[in-house]
Assembly symmetry: C2
Homo-oligomer: 176 residues x 2
């Protein structure tokens, strides 16, 4: 996922590691901070894999900056990952959000709509957190205060997300 985030931000413009960190922090840092120990090795890996180009510039009164930009392979990789996300990237909200943040870079409305549709299909499946006798526990039947809270929040999120997905898919789909 960190790799996707790096590809996404660099798709827009070249950035050095520190700037990249600031962008990532803005996107998801309040929820889960980015660590240098994850970021810099990821940059090295991706450079070794031919996804990134680097060139050095003097820093603003600090260490020299390594300015990173996407190679053609890097741009291709981003589009592939957006077009064809792994199942867990569709089901896990945190990961799906990362996808959404950069989905505009997939400049094909039909493919964009297909990704949203995969998420919608997942959300439309009946699902719950808890099961009793094999059947999902409904909000009203859950005796535990905290689990009732989980279900209540999940229900509100689901309702809003499904509504948005339907609208967005309609907006992306050319009228027949």
């Amino acid at each position: 996922m960190l790799e996707l985030t790096i590809l996404g931000f660099l798709y827009e413009q070249p950035l050095h590691g520190y700037e990249l960190k600031e962008r990532i922090t803005g996107l998801s840092g309040h929820v889960r901070p980015v660590s240098d120990g994850a970021l810099y090795p990821a940059i090295s890996r991706m450079t070794a894999a031919g996804l990134l180009d680097q060139h050095t510039e003097p820093g603003a009164g600090a260490a020299p900056r390594r300015v990173l930009s996407l190679t053609d392979a890097g741009r291709d990789r981003l589009r592939e990952r957006l077009r064809d996300p792994k199942p867990v990237e569709v089901t896990d909200s945190t990961r799906f959000n990362t996808l959404l943040a950069f989905l505009r870079h997939l400049d094909d409305p039909t493919a964009q709509a297909a990704v949203l549709q995969r998420r919608l299909d997942f959300l439309l499946q009946p699902a719950s957190f808890f099961y009793a006798d094999g059947r999902p526990v409904r909000l009203e039947d859950e005796p535990d205060l905290f689990r009732r809270g989980m279900l209540r929040v999940a229900r509100a999120t689901g309702t809003e997300e499904k509504a948005w997905l339907k609208e967005a898919i309609a907006a992306l789909t050319p009228a027949t």
Copy 2:
């Protein structure tokens, strides 16, 4: 997190690995599946750490079952982790949900309310996914369809979760 989930389910009753897997799947499997390669090593680690006891029972027409139960140290560990969660367990919704699923095992309403309050404090901070000129981008100003969706869903979730947290904290706090 897997460790917390294991502690939480075993707090209620002894289970063997396979049953544990079913419970975990019920809780979070639709979002992110549990793999044997994570579960069984976690069980071994926790047993070695003195958190779990094991005893063997014949299986139902399959391999013999390893029935797991919490030791006193295991029960203590669960209560500590619930009472004093790490920052990321408060900020990351997925992890916070895991906490919520077992928070009832912390049988001290004041401590339970304190955990909910930490989450509420986090949600009350102004936060956003995207920044322009250092200021958070508001839903209305976001030009990108997909990012607008993220913000819209996040707003709905936040509203509902804050409302629930306030109610729950009030319910847990004895009238003064």
